[in-house]
Point group: C2
Chain length 347, copies 2
DNA sequence: TTGTACGCGTTATCAC
DNA sequence: GTGATAACGCGTACAA
């Protein structure tokens, strides 16, 4: 909102019609003659008039603003990988497509999740929010539920005691199945001691990938050695530390919960003087940019991160505009991308 | 804006006062007795009432929304490095501190800069914008100038024909001096054939770093070999290609326009079977996370990216609230961070 | 098909 | 100190 600008009344005067007619034209309502419509349009164009959004919000009770909430789980946003920038590209694209605007919420250093959720809930500017990296009993989810703000999570929601889980809308990938695919690839290649550096286990993605790892081993009749499971945080650093710890137990393969984690693990493997894939094979998850920049290039599970963002926004706007009612869940496809880190020949 | 909520009138009724008094309390205005103030405050707290921002905007002509505009120069945002996430952390933090909200604008794939600038200018939700990666005669800058939207650039602005440059507010670092520091470091270590892979030369940061490179060589009495200058784009890929091209001319050192660029260059150097720093020394710029993840670790120029974002927001809000009038320029400090990529012993 | 009149929830300007 | 009341700019029944 800057300086003094024209309003509906001014345009109406210039066009020789009433304010309501101009309003009808702008909102593409019926019952306006072609003649007046074009005349009004011309003036609007010529003055490059845009209705005052605040006035509009006030009367329609809609802001056309979508919030995107990014909690700071272990600094993943601002330094560790490109997952969130890609997700934002996705949400931004869809939000733009729907003629909305994107309000971005980043958790601050030293701000608790509780405080963060308060900050979001106090703001009344949004028609709905996209939530990611949610954890069990997440205060952010509780807060938006409390104030009745429509939301979609980019993640399977975890337990929320006392909350009807069937009202949650979300978009994600089948992490369990995808993780199984990764581990089965390693099994197929003859690996016997397959380790796992998990993602953040407070997050569904992390939990489900661990579960998929377990299932794949079990299905193959292999024993699960708890020593070969290291709980990480989706970060490079936890991948590095995890691998260092795992090396004591002589794994011949690792499934990392994310590409960034894999990157850290690769560094640890190299520092130990071991070769990839000869001594240790490794599979990642996400297929971020870095997957093609490691040496050797990383075999990984590709998930459509941008599309997750886009879909989340679509679901959200459908809900806001009440085009959709029941719970909406979308599972996007994943794909095993074979590169050089497992010794399989890329077909 | 969700469902039916309470308004000033409701609170007033519960407190047994008038709407105006409640308004005064909320806006911390004087001329309210302590007694009524606390009573009203209690009710506000208890009902967790928040004034309707739309109504507020309508009358105050202020939205308390700051836009942050990120053009997509060679995909830098969503895949190539952590510069923008860090910048966003900075803006977000300051915006939050000032009780504003952050509207994020990302240029879309396939969207021209012209279209992007239109999309931004059409939106009337912002009190001001932070602009980055601006180029010469940038349509985005032209657009915000045209509509009179307050803005601050995170970059020294380039020529804008017919525009009074002295009205531009910006925050940046002294790129020329910083680049000189980097090159002088290489000279001090005895390097004779120092190459430069530049950043994007349409952007001031890119231009100024190149200039600093030239100045340092000249001051040292060294000849400038144009063959040793490769025009890049701040991306890893341009660093990789640039280094491949430069290797033909046998440089013994490289100053890269950014850490990501340096990362690409390092890869090319290694692939050529050369050693760092023995055969080629390399200095980067930014001191991003990746600077400590290359092998060897990267000597680089540190610039305070988050602080750039924070400062930009402060300047902007000062301008919006008319606390500041003249042009405001802030130069943040840089620092040479010596690691292992030049052969100097970190002191 | 068009115009009138009211309401959305605040802040600001007056009186008192 | 406090309370009416007029804006702010738009959408929308309702009347014409």
């Amino acid at each position: 909102m800057n300086e003094s600008r024209l309003n509906l009344e001014d345009i109406a005067k210039k066009a020789g019609v009433s304010r309501s007619t101009v309003s009808r034209v702008i909102n593409k309502e019926p019952y306006v003659s072609e003649k007046t419509r074009t005349r009004v349009m011309e003036i609007i164009e010529q003055e490059s008039f845009r209705p005052n959004p605040a006035a509009r919000m006030l009367v329609t009770q809609r802001t056309h603003i979508i919030g995107v909430v990014v909690p700071q789980i272990s600094n993943v946003f601002f330094a560790d990988n490109s997952y969130f920038p890609m997700l934002l590209q996705g949400t931004s694209s869809a939000i733009n497509e729907h003629d909305h605007s994107m309000l971005l919420w980043l958790q601050q250093d030293g701000e608790t999740r509780q405080e963060f959720s308060h900050r979001i809930a106090r703001n009344r500017l949004m028609d709905g929010v996209v939530l990611c990296s949610i954890v069990e009993s997440d205060p952010i989810v509780e807060a938006v539920l409390d104030i009745g703000l429509p939301f979609v999570t980019v993640e399977r929601p975890l337990g929320f005691p006392g909350r009807p889980l069937d009202q949650f809308n979300y978009v994600t990938v089948d992490n369990i199945h995808a993780a199984s695919m990764a581990v089965e690839h390693l099994i197929r290649l003859g690996r016997k001691h397959i380790a796992h550096i998990s993602g953040h286990l407070a997050i569904a993605d992390g939990q489900d990938r661990l579960l998929g790892y377990r299932q794949a081993l079990t299905r193959a009749g292999m024993l699960i050695d708890e020593n070969l499971i290291f709980p990480g945080f989706f970060t490079r650093e936890s991948g590095y530390r995890g691998m260092k710890a795992l090396l004591k137990h002589k794994p011949d393969a690792v499934f990392a919960g994310g590409d960034t984690t894999a990157q850290g693990a690769i560094q640890a493997i190299h520092e130990a003087g071991l070769r990839i894939p000869e001594d240790i094979a490794i599979v990642g998850f996400d297929d971020l940019d870095i997957a093609t920049q490691t040496a050797p290039k990383l075999t990984t599970i590709r998930q459509p991160v941008q599309q997750k963002g886009m879909t989340a926004v679509s679901l959200l706007i459908d809900r806001i505009e009440e085009r959709a009612h029941g719970p909406q869940r979308v599972l996007l496809p994943t794909e095993l991308v074979i590169r050089q880190s497992c010794g399989a020949i890329p077909s």
